[in-house]
Amino acid sequence: MTDEAPRFRDYSLTGIDARPGFEPGQWYSSPIPRKRLKQLMRRSDRKGLINNGLWIGLTVVTGCLLVATWGSWWALPAAFVYGIFYGSGADSRWHECGHGTVFKTRWLNNVFYHLASFMSLKNPYLWRWSHTRHHTDTIVVGRDPEIAFPRPPSILGMFTNLLYLRSGLKEFDRMIRLSLGRLTDDEKQYLIESERPPAFWTSRVHLAVHLSVVGVSIWTQSWLPLMLIGLPSFYGSWLHHLLAATQHAGLAEDLPDHRLNSRTVYLNPFFSFIYSNMNYHVEHHMYPMVPFYTLPELHEEIKNDCPPAYSSSIAAYREMIPAMLRQRRDPNHFVRRPLPEQANPTPHYVRPQFVYAT
């Protein structure tokens, strides 16, 4: 407890709570034999190409269906399915390829990383560094630029963001800003100098492509070009946001134990495919170099040292929504995840305690 007056926490990276995070060695890792971990970390171009080839193939086929049915009511279900592959499929693949773990061959990771970044309206350079910080200081206030639900959380914001309205528009704003060579103070905290020029140029290219699509739509007097490129990032990313909201919402802040600040949720095979197995989120954060296709095996290795996985997204939301509603009244509240009896306890860590406004 400090002698500060009660207040909400400052989630910016330059504010009053921007204090040092945890040392890398302080983060808890469930024990796993080195030999087994090496097996799990192995990259496979074949597995990466099967998954991403299927994703691109389905995106192209459903896009063609949308073109073929345009003007009829059949275009609605076609757009619905196409949007999921484009908007939701791209967001998880941006993430996976950003970690560089999908393919053994580096240029394949880079090609899919840049493609998926464009499709999810993300600047690949800025987000690589933002996500690097997210892994260094996961849900550490004043350090992690990717805390999706600062307390008190906005439930309305969570649901409006199913159509990417909150963060998607922010990404467009960022695209314009970076095109002009401007960074916010927070962005300057994590995007190193040498990566800024390519970040600016990439945003210019993204913006030029999107403006061209707008131009083609105006020229052809049709929404179709925009329904194929640009808008699917909004109308199709709902599935990704629905699944991704469960990653950390309502859980502990400032605790270097991913078992207690992240969720692992079981999903059906289709959702897992779209989401690239990021539902194994505890495992992903604990061992970020394990590619998505071996995360289920990693889960089996360490699950006895982790809180029980959620049986479905609905089960996770059943816990999350009441916790977030309570955080609106009491920002000190968070869900305490139960560790199994045989699990290693969370080591004792010290980071300054804060007083919240209530």
């Binding site: 890398p24 090496k38 970690h99 690589r128 560094w129 690097t132 260094t136 040498s194 990566e195 170099m289």
Partner: protein
């Protein structure tokens, strides 16, 4: 002044892998390449001081286990961001089944 120090036995490291070697308060990483050569670098990633010994060796690349910063462990050259600063390398020699590193 040269200071050759025994780091490990050759069989202590699997092919295409590495181990951590601590000496005089410093941490080093000793590698065995796919072609059975041995190399040594500083043991901590130049990005955020994470132990490289927990990372993955692929051919001649060591990958940091935290953020996938990559280095060519033969030269120490940083190959992928967020690693931007090269690793320091150290001479290695193998004698009688033992790996020696010339440390400071």
């Amino acid at each position: 002044m040269s200071n050759w120090t025994r780091a490990c036995a050759v069989d202590d490291i699997e092919e295409e892998d590495l181990i951590r070697f601590d000496h005089n308060g410093r941490t080093y990483a000793v590698y065995r390449s796919p072609s059975d050569e041995y190399f040594c670098t500083d043991g901590l990633c130049t990005h955020e001081q994470v132990h490289l010994a927990d990372g993955l060796v692929m051919d001649y690349i060591i990958e940091c286990p935290m953020h996938n910063g990559q280095f060519d462990y033969r030269t120490g050259k940083a190959m992928r961001s967020p690693a931007c600063v090269d690793l320091r390398t150290y001479p290695v020699r193998v004698e009688n089944g033992q790996v020696f590193v010339e440390v400071e």
